[in-house]
Symmetry: C2
Subunit: 336 residues, 2 copies
DNA sequence: TTGTATGCGTTATCAA
DNA sequence: TTGATAACGCATACAA
């Protein structure tokens, strides 16, 4: 940590600390010459106002926390990228926390953030449990929170999501139009709101085309690659779907691997479509039909929303919901 | 920000602030009962010691900064994941900064971090310019810094890298053994140390097999997808290599796209190998032969090194260099 | 074992 | 326009 502080700089300049302080604040009265003299000297000594002292004094941290389930995921890294850009423009810093889909960690992060470390939180939830009251503590303390993509429905706070229901409906419809009659739906956590909406789109699309719903075709997967591989192989062998719709990118990959293992041809024997932000989906074998969310845009919108809450809280409706559209991009994995 | 502070908590308990403070510090003398009474009350009011006040007092932030060129990149997101895990275990938080390969941003981030915001820095450099003196300012102030993967050679600080020279040599040798005689080497920035070592491995492997070096085959690419596409197509058409070795993941993808566009068959007409941390390399069309760096491990090692510097600076040699091995994973893109 | 008093580095208030 | 001073919330040295 730095040793050189505002006092020493003031002494070196023969000025008071208050005058020096003013040189770093834009709105204060200070003569142009002194200001420049101070800044020059500051550069010389490489002085920067101590962040912790400033923030203690100013009661805000110019920092926002971003909580995501995982980092090694195209969707989240693109979203974080978007958030980072907005934050940087605003002169804010971002703290990153990965819950690894662990509810305990999520609660622990949130609790710790109550200590003034961050001015606001942008979060995509893990969704493992049902007790979200810890989040209400946040709202009592008025620490602004914005959800993106994965949200808790029982918590009222602004959110940025995509048109999951419609996308799922279209994706399922697309599979049906390509001739599928037995469409499996792969999900990580049925109970999470995002899972529900996406699943409802699937269910309603089946209904529209009078395809009976079969709950053996709705498969709850895990976070373990090995387990998923087993689950999927069993599905493919025992139930024998002719189409697969995955609510999460990872499960589309898992489906590919399972098909490779079982020597099942995509798309001839099985058509695959998945939610995915993978930029190289066209390079897969076969190229993967995706429902692609505007990940970076989501991050940007979430950050903008949070900054609006920070700058003018009264202008933000706690029920505000920004819905962005995903795109269905048809590729070889769903060809006839 | 929170309104409830240590004073209020002390008042509510009929104790002094110092006693309350002690309840949150492990080493201090305090009776078990009072401690528990205090912690219970703290939970009730959801009190947490203010982070900025503590850190101002203690002169350390329990925060480390991570600076990377880009976020939407498998290597970096995996590395960050590794760093995050170690930091969390140590009770540290991580700040993330993306330079987007912009030297100006890098300098600006570093300068701002001089204000006590972070106790240390883990960085993979952008490498755009040659003036790294701003980093020496860091070392004067003894703000610990660890490089990983992309480093500046002229800055003395501990680093975690991979055996780039050997990997490149092996990769090139592999292409030669598969029958390639005209091997292109794609790079983003020739001047960056990592680029140099990787390139030297390529050059020496050619020499070993008495293949003449042709500098039309060494191609400096950009950060723009569109430009790279043009550059690569020109290379493929005008120079006509029979093998491509990319020093960066992104360029392997670019090569695939260019081949798709030109209807060039991989691996029959062109064999491709690239540095890549892509987990789904086996799913590409054709599956991509990769030099895979242990990204998460690199992040973990870098973080461990930084914490060693923070906890026992005298035990860390500033020239310390941890070298991890990459793996050459042969897949279809380089088959005969 | 607990309480008192001081200072960490900064900025806002007020006075000059 | 500039300077003196108090306060932000906390943790430690020292006293009790």
């Amino acid at each position: 940590m730095q040793n050189f502080n505002i006092k020493e700089l003031a002494k070196a300049l023969g000025l008071s600390t208050s005058t020096v302080s003013r040189a770093f604040r834009d709105n204060s009265d200070i003569s142009k010459e002194t200001k420049e003299r101070i800044l020059a000297k500051a550069r010389e000594f490489n002085y920067q106002p101590n962040h912790y002292a400033s923030n203690l004094r100013e009661q805000r941290s110019k920092t926002i926390a971003v909580i995501v389930p995982e980092l090694a995921n195209n969707f989240f890294s693109q979203a974080i990228h978007g958030i980072e850009r907005v934050a940087r423009d605003k002169g804010y810093h971002i703290l990153i926390y990965a819950t690894e889909d662990d509810y305990e960690k999520e609660v622990s992060f949130i609790r710790h953030l109550h200590n003034g470390r961050a001015d606001g939180i942008i979060m995509s939830v893990s969704g493992e449990a049902n007790d979200h009251t810890y989040l209400n503590e946040l709202s009592q303390k008025r620490l602004p929170l914005v959800f993106f993509d994965r949200v808790y429905e029982d918590i009222i706070t602004p959110r940025v999501i995509t048109n999951d229901y419609d996308s799922s409906f279209s994706a399922t419809e697309h599979l049906i139009k390509q001739g599928c009659k037995k469409i499996a739906y792969l999900v990580i956590n049925k109970n999470l709101s995002i899972g529900k909406f996406r699943m409802q789109g699937y269910i309603d699309a089946l209904a529209k085309y009078e395809i009976p719903f079969d709950d053996r075709l709705v498969v709850d997967c895990t976070n373990s690659y090995a387990k998923n591989n087993l689950i999927l192989k069993r599905l493919l062998v025992d139930v024998g779907p002719d189409g697969v719709f995955t609510s999460v990118e990872r499960l589309a990959f898992a489906t590919y691997y399972a098909c490779y293992d079982l020597n099942i041809q995509i798309p001839q024997q099985l058509r695959v479509i998945g939610f995915s932000s993978l930029e190289i989906a066209p390079l897969l074998n076969p190229s993967l039909t995706t429902v692609t969310q505007p990940a970076t845009k989501i991050g940007i919108e979430a950050a903008n929303l949070l900054f609006k809450m920070l700058e003018a809280p009264e202008t933000v409706d706690p029920n505000e919901e920004i819905v962005l559209n995903s795109k269905l991009i048809k590729r070889r994995s769903t060809e006839k």
